[in-house]
């Protein structure tokens, strides 16, 4: 068994990572750290895992070497303490934004000057659907952001085929409260948060840079991203408006999506004619590593509306990290990620 540890395991992303890893057929979780909960059962932070494991949180200073170390800390922590982390493992997977962007200028635009550009260049972007071969050969992977992941997967087939006006893409992502993390703040206070439809980033969201980095492989892509917090705990649902350079039929769109995603184990085309769940619905994906993608062509324009949904904590974070680990280690890419979700929920 491969020994893995989680640095920063008391947050929601770390908790989901632990949940998945505890059932993974090829790994043993050696340590999970939390400075504030050191010595306490992991069930203290993740009550769904009570009785499922005897693990207790370790102090980060007591972290021992392992085969693969997951970094699930707030942005800026991994890059800021890299010299202490590097001797601890041969392989790393970082769930934060520290090493996602390969362009220092883009990083500076949204996060400030990168403290370790020398280390940043050693990390590989971890979204399997766009970087599978590179991940297979990597020892350091940075997973994608949740809003970026759902947006990239929605748009990628059309940018790859050169079908899109590159500067006219608008993405509206609705997100759940878990994107805000486990630490409470004024905005997460129940009377404030409950029932809200809060456009918390109409423009200037950090994940814009990441989306443009990946779609920019296929031309000078510019995307216009807005993110709205809604009454939901888990989930990110993207409604992307793209404007096609040529007239396409529904049959064309089906063909493009099938050609791109039929072999992907965690991408499903969901665009049904009947029923209640005709388009991707994030609540059905809670706990799963799926990204569901649907579409509708505007009969009166060249607009194509692409709808996509994920669980922000799984495909948008922990599940994506485990999928990347499976590739890095040469295992079945789907190992540990077979949960199909719940219905009704």
């Amino acid at each position: 068994m491969t020994r893995v540890s989680i640095l920063g395991g008391s947050g929601y992303g770390g908790g989901e990572l632990l949940r998945i890893l505890l059932s993974h057929p090829h790994v043993t979780v050696s340590q999970v750290t939390s400075r504030g909960l050191a010595g306490k059962s992991v069930g203290r932070a993740h009550p769904n895992l009570r009785g499922h494991t005897g693990l207790k949180f370790s102090d980060p200073g007591d972290l021992q070497p392992c085969d693969l170390l997951f970094l699930a800390m707030p942005h800026g922590k991994a890059s800021g303490s890299w010299d202490d982390l590097e001797p601890l493992a041969e392989r790393f997977i970082d769930l934060s934004a520290d090493f996602r962007l390969d362009d220092a200028e883009s990083y500076a635009r949204f996060y400030g000057t990168h403290p370790r550009p020398d280390v940043n260049s050693t990390f590989t972007y971890g979204l399997a659907e766009v970087n599978r071969d590179a991940i297979r050969g990597a020892s350091r992977v940075a997973t994608g952001g949740c809003n970026a992941t759902v947006s990239i997967l929605a748009l990628l087939p059309f940018f790859e085929q050169g079908l899109v006006h590159l500067d006219r893409t608008v993405i509206d992502v609705k997100v759940g409260s878990s994107e805000g993390g486990a630490d409470p703040n004024e905005g997460s206070h129940h009377p404030v948060r409950s029932g809200t439809v809060r456009p918390y980033r109409p423009t200037g969201h950090r994940h814009t840079a990441e989306i443009e980095m990946i779609l920019g492989r296929h031309g000078a892509a510019r995307v216009h991203l807005s993110v709205t917090a809604i009454e939901m705990v888990r989930g990110a649902a993207a409604l992307a408006h793209i404007f096609l350079k040529e007239t396409l039929t529904e049959r064309d769109i089906w063909g493009i999506l099938r050609a791109r995603y039929d072999d992907e184990p965690f991408v499903r085309i969901v665009s049904e004619r009947t029923g209640v769940y005709r388009f991707p619905e994030p609540k059905l994906l809670a706990g799963t590593n799926y990204c569901d993608i649907g579409f509708e062509l505007d009969a009166n324009s060249e607009r194509l509306v692409v709808v996509a949904a994920i669980d922000n904590l799984v495909k948008g974070s922990a599940g994506q990290a485990v999928q990347a680990m499976n590739l890095m280690m040469g295992w079945d890419e789907t190992a540990g990620l077979g949960f199909p979700g719940l219905h009704p929920i």
Binding site: E250, W254, S271
Partner: protein
Amino acid sequence: MPVLTTIECPVCWGGVNVSADVMLSELLDCGDCGAELEVTALSPALQLAEAPMSAEDWGE
């Protein structure tokens, strides 16, 4: 039940498996897009058409 043939869905152009003993007017579901399909002809070629749907009111 033996599969007679795979025929193209008229809604999403995916493959719909049709069994050997299919009957005229029988209703089938497309596994890809979920459309309800009606068998409208058995010969000279098997034909499927989207079955009539009751309209939904989504508050529009």
